[in-house]
């Protein structure tokens, strides 16, 4: 039997953590792009897109991420596509992220006082111009802190990709655990590595939030 030293375990976990980072980046960037569309649809003036976005958000926020992963994984193979676990995980996490970011950003846009809309409309700006020059720059300032905060949820969400067989940090932990039987050490290290990824994001989010509050109070 192969003996694992502490450093073997740590090194393998660090290697696998790269996949966690990669999957998080894909999901976050993809989720941001789709989330922007969701947000725009959610605040649209016509009821069709508004309701569509609302149902989209309700369904994705009202069902477990694990089920979304399973449905992507098994659903795509159903229509004849042989999807690797990374692709299924990336798609499911992108959809999940987009629903939350879309709703977060909607809140930010709606936090902009109505007077800003009226003032820019009275300057004969069109709707896209109002968005581009008046509303979005202000909404983005409010949105930065909660968006960074949600990135923590995305990183943690990638842990579920282990269940459909994608070898990232959690899956590597399970595999090493099965070989070494040192559950306490292995899962402790896995938890610490996630903490090392997430805690800086949490701190950044909190600092941004504080800075915004100071700016607003003055």
């Amino acid at each position: 039997m192969v003996q694992f030293t502490f450093w073997d375990i740590l090194r393998n976990l660090l290697l696998a953590a790269q996949w966690t980072v990669l999957l998080s980046l894909i999901a976050f960037i993809g989720g941001a792009i789709v989330g922007l569309l969701v947000c725009v649809a959610r605040i649209s003036k016509s009821p069709g897109p508004r309701w569509g976005a609302r149902i989209y958000i309700e369904v994705l926020q009202g069902t477990p991420l694990l089920m979304q992963l399973f449905l992507c994984f098994f659903g795509l193979s159903l229509i004849g596509l042989n999807v690797p676990p990374l692709a299924a995980a990336a798609i499911a996490l992108t959809l999940y992220t987009s629903a939350f970011l879309g709703e977060i950003w909607r809140g930010c846009v709606e936090a902009i006082p109505k007077g800003q809309w009226e003032a820019s409309a009275s300057l004969a700006l069109t709707y896209p111009e109002q968005m581009r020059y008046v509303i979005l720059p202000q909404a983005m300032r409010i949105g930065v802190a909660p968006t960074v905060g949600f990135a923590v949820q995305v990183v943690k969400g990638t842990a579920l990709a282990s269940i459909i067989g994608f070898v990232e940090l959690t899956k590597a932990g399970t595999m090493i655990n099965n070989a070494t039987f040192q559950s306490f050490l292995v899962y402790g290290l896995v938890a610490l590595l996630y903490f090392a990824l997430c805690f800086p994001l949490s701190l950044l989010s909190r600092r941004l939030e504080r800075r915004l509050n100071v700016a607003r109070a003055s």
């Binding site: 069902t63 477990p64 089920m67 229509i79 040192q182 306490f184």
Partner: protein, 220 residues
Amino acid sequence: MNYTFHFADVFAYADLLLRGAWLTVQLSAISTMLGLIVGIAGALGRNSQITPVRWLATAYVELIRNTPFIVQLFFLYFGLAQMGIKMTAGQAALLTMVVNLGAYATEIVRAGIDAISKGQWEAGLSLAMTRWQVFRHVVLLPALEKIYPALTSQFIIVMLGSSVVSQISAEELTFAGNFIQSRNFRSFEVYFVITGLYLLLALGFRQVFRLIGQRVFRKA
């Protein structure tokens, strides 16, 4: 796409699905109650004047909020077993859910307590109440009322997150799905139905919490 869906194959196991859903409801309800208690205790710890208590509460919150639920589950179930603390899958699932919810509830409850104006504390203390009495009789209920929507959302997140405990073979809704799937290989249909059931549970829970909220925070 030449695929015919066979949902009847899934509903043939309706009793199994119902049993799984019932365990999900039980796990969620118990962890909600215990998690709220942990949250209130945690919030008191975070605001405590004793420095080590404050640090301990802070470490608990940060550690839990910055690690995935599934890793917490594995750590508590497999890790503690290696240390000699053996639990059944159901116990480990419940413990992890309470520990997880407790950390989030701590921050939510703390925000509620901070939102209560200082005048309330001062008024209570000037009536010769102890700090604990002021907290219990003056501050707690209005604080909970302020944060009730946030707490409700967090409870539902934990209920949905409980699908993960199927990974240590706790026999809740997702576990029932995995079992059925392994029998008839109708993966998509099974998880489609299970997803729908979770959606119903989430909507149902929100309704129940609204009714509870109306009763508890009833205005005179």
